[in-house]
């Protein structure tokens, strides 16, 4: 049985980075439960365009939970009420008829609002540019078994690498801390031989950049891992702390 619902949306509208924003209320009728959240916003925008109003600006790209472009703080949850998914994978069947749904941009001093629900997440790119890469010559493709990496370590590295850099961790954190993101990006390399060469320099440079960009200090509330669409664990944050301290004590 297909369910259709009537909903009220409270959407943050802001014309530009320097403009004052405010919430606008919109009513949408007959939304199918099989509609994705972003398709629902598309329907809203079509309605707004037909009424001669400005459509709501929001980030999105692949719409299959891989690219990390979509954001949105929905009813008190980054990426909405469902677990381990991005906003584009959220469906309207998670809401009930007559619900009022609040839709807000990520809030953090390091993520300024560009327009409506879009925020500037360039700060993440700047952290990656500070050291989230391998720049040593790792040679040609080795034989598959030439560099033995234990399965648990390979799994840990892959789990860290599942971070799509969406920024939900920063949006969920009461301190606006980017530690889960940075720890995933440091861990995915620090665990593998290719990344170990520059591990100390990487941890030092990425943390320095993170602090400089105005992200907060981690207080271990675990809100980030609760809301992470990829289930990245705070054990990565412990590893980042360890890597950073190793780098500093080696100085």
């Amino acid at each position: 049985m297909e369910k259709t619902i009537n909903i009220t949306l409270k959407v943050w509208r802001q014309k530009g980075p320097k403009e004052q924003g405010r919430f606008e209320t919109y009513k949408l009728n007959g939304i199918s439960g099989d509609t994705s959240f972003l398709e629902m916003l598309d329907i809203l925008n079509e309605q707004l365009v037909n009424e001669g109003k400005e459509p709501v600006a929001f980030d999105n790209d692949c719409r299959e939970g891989i690219c990390g472009m979509c954001s949105l703080y929905i009813n008190g949850h980054p990426h909405g009420p469902d677990n381990l998914i991005t906003t584009c994978q959220l469906h309207m069947r998670h809401f009930n008829d007559g619900d009022t749904i609040s839709v807000e941009p990520w809030r953090s001093a390091a993520f300024p609002v560009i327009r409506d629900l879009m925020v500037d997440r360039y700060a993440f790119d700047k952290i990656i540019q500070a050291g989230g890469y391998v720049s040593v010559n790792t040679g040609g493709v080795p034989d598959a078994n030439a560099i033995p990496i234990a399965k648990p370590i390979a799994d840990e590295a892959m789990d860290a690498a599942s971070c799509i850099g969406c920024g939900a961790c920063v949006a969920a954190c009461k301190n606006g801390s980017a530690m889960l993101f940075v720890s995933a990006k440091v861990s995915q390399l620090a665990l593998l031989p290719q990344g170990k060469v520059e591990a100390k320099e990487r941890a030092r440079a990425m943390i320095a950049r993170m602090d400089e960009l105005g992200f907060g200090n981690c207080t271990n509330t675990r809100a980030c891992e609760q809301e992470c669409p990829k289930g990245v664990s705070i054990s990565n944050i412990a590893r980042l702390n360890r890597e950073f301290l190793k780098a500093k004590f080696a100085e």
Partner: protein
């Protein structure tokens, strides 16, 4: 060592190390209080040893430094974190499933400091302070700790105030213990649940040990 002050992880290391030091102090203080359960003379003897001797004064100074650093950095980190959060809050309050104590460490800290000030007024001022300065601030001799305890806890309201204070300490420690090890990087997927259990065990041992004295007074009035 400048990184300890100017990096986010460095500041967390300071919180962690000062926190672990304070936990060790609490364990020591709690063990000392337990003697009150069976012998007032033994307790007074310990109070005498911890009066104006050089090692007691040195210990007190180190402790004051530890407390000061912990409070100072907690305030600094809280201010920085509020700024990092940005001026605009969310309309919908967070529905993220997190522990209350983890999000309210600073609030719990304020309650603990208020309790600490009262505690210093109740005991330290009449004991170590009196012995050091020679000023008579209490009814009894400075080392007669047991008499001061009975005097204070004769009033059930003080027993309740101290128990509430201990409740705040318990909540603060259940987050603080595992968090201290996470902040210095001594955790992973195996150790996280272990530290979490250790947190509950350590905080419960500390708080029950301290609570034994006011509970004894509430129940038996002696």
């Amino acid at each position: 060592m400048y990184w300890l002050l100017n990096s986010s992880i460095g500041r967390k290391v300071i919180m962690s190390v000062s926190g672990i030091f304070l936990i060790l102090f609490l364990l020591f203080h709690m063990s000392m209080n337990l003697t009150l359960l069976f012998s007032a003379e033994a307790y007074d003897m310990i109070c005498g040893l911890l009066g104006a001797n050089w090692y007691a004064i040195a210990g007190t100074l180190v402790l004051v430094a530890g407390v000061a650093v912990h409070i100072l950095y907690a305030s600094l980190l809280t201010l920085q974190n509020r700024r990092a959060r940005g001026s605009k809050g969310y309309l919908a309050s967070s529905k993220t499933d997190t522990e209350w104590s983890a999000k309210n460490m600073y609030v719990l800290g304020i309650i603990i400091v208020l309790g600490l000030l009262l505690h210093l007024w109740n005991f330290w001022y009449k004991m170590q302070f009196a012995e050091l300065t020679g000023i008579h601030t209490g009814e009894h001799l400075p080392h007669e700790g047991a008499a001061y305890v009975s005097e204070l806890f004769a009033c059930p309201c003080y027993c309740v105030i101290y128990l509430v204070w201990l409740g705040a300490i318990w909540l603060h420690l259940t987050h603080g213990v595992w968090s201290a090890f996470q902040s210095v990087g001594l955790s992973n997927k195996t150790w996280y649940p272990r530290w979490k259990t250790i947190s509950y065990v350590v905080s419960t041992i500390i708080v029950l040990g301290f609570a034994a004295v006011p509970i004894k007074f509430l129940l038996f009035n002696v």
